[in-house]
Amino acid sequence: MEKQSDLLLDIQHLHTAYRLQGKFYDAADDVNLTLKRDEILAIVGESGCGKSTIASSVIGLYDHKNTKVTGDILYNELNLVGLNESLFNKIRGEKIGMIFQDPLASLNPLMRVGDQVAETLYYHTNMDEKARHAKVIELFNQVGMPKPNEMYEMYPHELSGGLRQRVVIAMAIACDPEVIIADEPTTALDVTIQAQILDLLEDIQKKSHSGIILITHDLGVVAETADEVAVMYAGQIVEKADVKTIFKHPLHPYTRSLLNSMPQSDDEDEDLHVIHGTVPSLKNMPRQGDRFAARIPWIPASAHEENPQIHEVEPGHFVRCTCWKTFHFENDENVKKQEVEAVSGE
């Protein structure tokens, strides 16, 4: 058993529904996740799978009129679902820090970056202006910004993408939060900068012993940084395991398709696997049966569970539905067919 204090976030039966033309549709459908101290939990999936929905539900930043969140998000036994705003403002920035995708858009263009970081400190500490300034300089040093004193006075447009993201990270870690949510933190950055930012995140996590939720669609990022991986499809978690298992022994068809669509070798002639179709939109999402079934039509319906559940197939490895047992790629089937034809032709 885990010690209670090691469990930072316990998300139970989370449903987040958005209102579209008067009706609510679940964008996150019965999500169960836990985040422990010293852990990087990656949430992976295509766009529109509900990854960011989980992030905004945890940090309570959603349009309250058009969003309905039910279930439990326990942070140290405090339920964040339905928490009143003034209490939530104490948690945000102080206990839970957030890093966003586009570092230029996530900084106020009219404010000095140093002041934007200091703003977090203003609301969560008793520091005076001088102490806040000193702390910001310290944070800038920590996130590897050159000439922190000069950087303090800069405006976002004067910084490069990598530096901006470092400012955003400095903002998120200003109060040593226990939970850091990084929503596609490297997507908008150059490949060379991506690695630096990921290293920085790992470094911060090691020092502060916080837990990080890393939302990404980049499996390379996952392989490099994550400890635990949750694969999401159409609002549901379809597979969850530690990072080694996911990459060495993936089971769910969606996970396997995702991994298969990654370039595997230096072979220039290699054809990348393409997952047919797209993630169904929120309104058209199938609410019954296996949601991924439509994108693997060559798998017979009988292979899917009628109401797919999460099963623990081995300790710590969870998979939704039973279709993984008979799943194979379409190309394999073609290969088989060709083989059969070749044999029968002879």
Partner: protein, 319 residues
Amino acid sequence: MWKTVLRRLLIMIPQLIILSLLVFLLAKMMPGDPFSGSINPNTDPKQIDALRRAAGLYDPWYVQYGRWVGNLLHGDLGTSYIQHVPVSSLIADRAVNTFWLSLLTTILTYSIAIPLGITAGRHQDQWQDTSVRIFNYITLAIPGFVFYILGLWLFGFTLGWFPISGSVSANASGFWGILGSRLYHMILPAILYALITTTFTVQYLRTGIIDNKVEDYVRTARSKGVPENVVFHKHILRNSLLPIAAFLGNTITGLLSGSMIIETVFSYPGMGKLFIDSIGQRDYTTLTALILIFGILTLIGNLLSDIIMSIIDPRIRIQ
């Protein structure tokens, strides 16, 4: 900062030259000259001819232009054909009236428009927003002169709350008496003028707030635990005021030169009324001078806007 201003001032020099050339050439193309009005059947054409030659009207246009600009630089705008007084003194008297009317109008415009825009933006699609939008469509749709005449008729004639013409009453005396009387004469035209002018400010502010509300940096501010009202004033509102600040300079000088209709309706002795009167009386020297002044005001308005923008938006400053 100062480099930006200096650079903008340097850009203004060619603009001023082009403006003065245009005004001069257009004035030259207008029919008639200072002596056309003095001709009657008994006038000896030779005498008129001599007068024209003495006034330099037979010189090449560039010589005349040079003389005109030279006079301008010495503050000499010529003499009014009709009133036979120096145009500069004619305009100076009126400019003071227009200045005060414009100042009051500007203050009223922003004190009406900014709260309305904020209300509409904050309560998007709620009844507050709908009311502001209806008000906006009405003030946008009604032509100024109809609105002014209705206001004049209702509050001036029918209710008798405000004076219906002039800038100061004849029997006002003492500093405070005259100041009070001036204000009293300005209030109704200023309010009516301001109401018509608010439309764009309200609309820009409303749209700005609605757009900025969903910007990523606002979400970032919220994720830091910044209370919602601070998020609004410090992050959303400041960014939403940018387009309004961009028009601030033009609005101020625009009111100075754009008050022709309101001044005419209220018989308010300002530059706008002078302009309309000069057109009616073919007072070309006055007209030319006024057009030149209005042009310069527009240039100054642009300059002011640029300076204001460079103060509040760091992205615009030139390194």
